[in-house]
């Protein structure tokens, strides 16, 4: 019913695909790049729930990613809190901050909402940068231990990659489940018409805050995974630029499409690796790709793929549906 089996199969296929990539590629120097792009994908999937489905823009999501990363890093390193507890606290801090900031912020609309989230992101970034005793300031915070679960230490890059791949698959599955529920419908309803949603008994303020917090939690999960992988953290990774990059991932991948966010995140995180041979021209190409993709694929890469499939399918119901 409602494509659950299809989703399940897709997620399984996706997980399988992620697991065999390293084997296909054979070499392992890019494993960290892959891990990082999957980490970004976790944030993008959450941001897509907020932006693509519920239609609420956030230009400050890097802040939640950073809050969780720093919280877990500081707790486990400076205060020797056990790793699982530190990581849980990191994710929780992201969620709680999202709740507190979300309640007043999500009353704003459109560009004003964009501005407010942007401002929040800048404030958090400055906080990372300036509370030197706590965060280590601009030069960063090192000596963070790598992830360890029940005695198993994710020492090798490949084991960490598998871990992040499984978490991403889980996040994708949860998101797909959410989308195909009354809550998912409520979110999509808010996107098209806030009035009609209210009339259908949907508490729009509550749902907006809910999805904001959920997306912050996803960003938090990504944050703790990031920090216990790189074992180092500096404010530069959580600035305004990264928030914008996250939004770009979602839009370029395809709004309101869980898979789109994954594709967008991987595309934008891996693309620079391919552009690297062009050295200085890289940045120009990157800009050009953004422009060209948006012009020719307005519904994102996932949207483009879907369209391609529809075009290949025999056209039978087309004439009936249109006026």
């Amino acid at each position: 019913m409602y494509g659950f089996k299809r989703d399940m199969l897709a997620v399984l296929g996706f997980t399988f695909f992620l697991l065999i990539i390293p084997r296909i590629l054979g070499n392992d120097y890019y494993i960290n790049t892959l891990t990082l792009s999957l980490t970004h994908a976790i944030i993008a999937v959450g941001l897509n729930l907020l932006m693509g489905y519920a239609g609420q823009v956030s230009l400050g999501h890097a802040a939640f990613y950073g809050l969780a990363a720093y919280t877990s890093a500081i707790l486990t390193t400076t205060y020797s809190v056990p790793l699982p507890l530190g990581m849980m606290s990191g994710i929780l801090v992201s969620g709680v901050v999202a709740l507190l900031i979300g309640i007043p912020t999500l009353k704003l609309k459109g560009h004003y909402l964009a501005m407010a989230t942007l401002g929040f992101g800048v404030i958090v970034y400055i906080f990372f940068n300036e509370t030197i005793e706590l965060t280590g300031g601009p030069s960063g915070f090192g000596g963070i231990s790598r992830l360890q679960v029940m005695g198993y230490r994710f020492a090798s890059d490949i084991s960490y990659y598998y871990l992040v791949a499984f978490v991403l698959a889980g996040v994708v599955l949860l998101s797909l489940n959410l989308i195909h529920s009354r809550i998912g419908r409520a979110l999509r309803a808010i996107h098209t018409s806030e009035t009609a949603s209210q009339i259908s008994g949907i508490d729009i303020a509550k749902y907006k805050v809910f999805v904001f917090v959920l997306s912050a939690l996803f960003a938090g999960v990504a944050g703790v995974l990031y920090v216990h992988n790189i074992a180092f953290v500096a404010p530069g990774s959580f600035g305004f630029n990264f928030s914008i990059e996250l939004v770009t991932m979602v839009v370029l991948g395809g709004m309101a499409n869980v898979w789109g966010a994954v594709i967008g995140a991987c595309f934008l995180s891996i693309l620079p690796e391919f552009l690297r041979v062009f050295e200085n021209i890289e940045i120009v190409l990157y800009g050009a790709i953004l422009i060209v993709f948006t012009i020719f694929l307005p519904e994102g890469i996932a949207g483009g793929i879907t369209k391609l499939f529809l075009m290949m399918k025999p056209k039978r119901s087309d004439a009936a549906g249109k006026e």
């Binding site: 529920s181 809550i183 419908r185 309803a189 009035t195 949603s197 209210q198 009339i199 008994g201 949907i202």
Partner: protein
């Protein structure tokens, strides 16, 4: 007014100002349980504003709204919807990013109750809820005769069907009071005829009280039990249809409007 009768909705002394314009000036308006009440008046008389105040989209500057003996004046719209006040819109507010079926399922939002955790993990409660939701939605689509279009994207429906879809979504949320804002606008004669029958069935089969803002006088006179006339933000008459047609004040108000347009 007539305290003896059983009113589902009663508004007292409603005043709404938009900047310098007084859209409603002390309006009293009551709807009898189980009736089909029409709200008519020239353009700009304040009909839609009154619906907005009742459904909670606009807050009244003064006055109270009572629904089933409870004061709902300060309730937000979604809470009013939950307690049974639901409406449709003149300019169609359907969810264009969904299929026909999903639109109606969204209307069932408050009738199925399972938690976030249920939906994330697809627990049996989720499945139970979704199955019920699906059944409810199918029933309403059959009711408005859109079953064959259930998987069509809502944007691809012809205008008349979109009106029916909005109606189905409203009915799906099991209201006790349904407010319809010009449901016949943009429909042809045949479609209007069907709509009239449908509104009657909504009241007769579902026991839903209906308030109807409408310009199509034929439709109003044919289906409504009571008619309230608004002009310049004031109620100028409230009576059964036959009497309203003879009311000199009402005729004057409408003639006045004709001169304007």
């Amino acid at each position: 007014m007539q305290q003896a009768r059983n009113d589902i909705l009663s508004c007292r002394g409603l005043v709404v100002n938009f900047g310098g314009v007084q859209a409603l000036r002390s309006v009293d308006f009551a709807v009898e349980t189980g009736s089909i009440t029409a709200l008519i008046g020239p353009n700009g008389a304040g009909k839609t504003t009154l619906l907005n105040v009742v459904s909670g989209l606009v807050n009244a500057d003064q006055g109270t709204v009572k629904f089933r003996e409870q004061d709902i004046t300060s309730l937000p719209p979604h809470k009013r919807a939950v307690s049974g006040v639901v409406r449709t819109f003149q300019n169609l507010e359907i969810f264009y990013n969904m299929s026909v079926l999903e639109n109606v399922m969204t209307g069932c939002h408050r009738r199925i109750r399972y938690s976030v955790v249920d939906s994330l993990l697809k627990t049996p409660r989720y499945w139970g809820g979704e199955k019920r939701c699906y059944r409810y939605a199918e029933r309403e689509l059959e009711f408005v005769n859109l079953m064959d279009k259930k998987d069509t994207p809502a944007t691809e429906l012809p205008f008349g069907s979109q009106r029916l879809l909005e109606l189905a979504r409203a009915v799906a949320s099991e209201p006790t009071l349904l407010l319809l804002d010009e449901p016949a606008a943009g429909l042809n004669i045949r479609e209007t005829g069907n709509l009239g029958k449908l509104i009657r069935r909504i009241r007769d089969e579902r026991g839903i009280t209906v308030v109807l803002v409408e310009h199509d006088m034929d439709l109003v006179m044919r289906i409504s039990d009571s008619v309230t006339v608004l002009n310049f933000g004031e109620v100028i008459a409230q009576d059964v249809p036959l009497e309203i047609q003879k009311n000199p004040q009402v005729i004057a108000a409408y003639l006045g409007e004709d001169e304007d347009t």
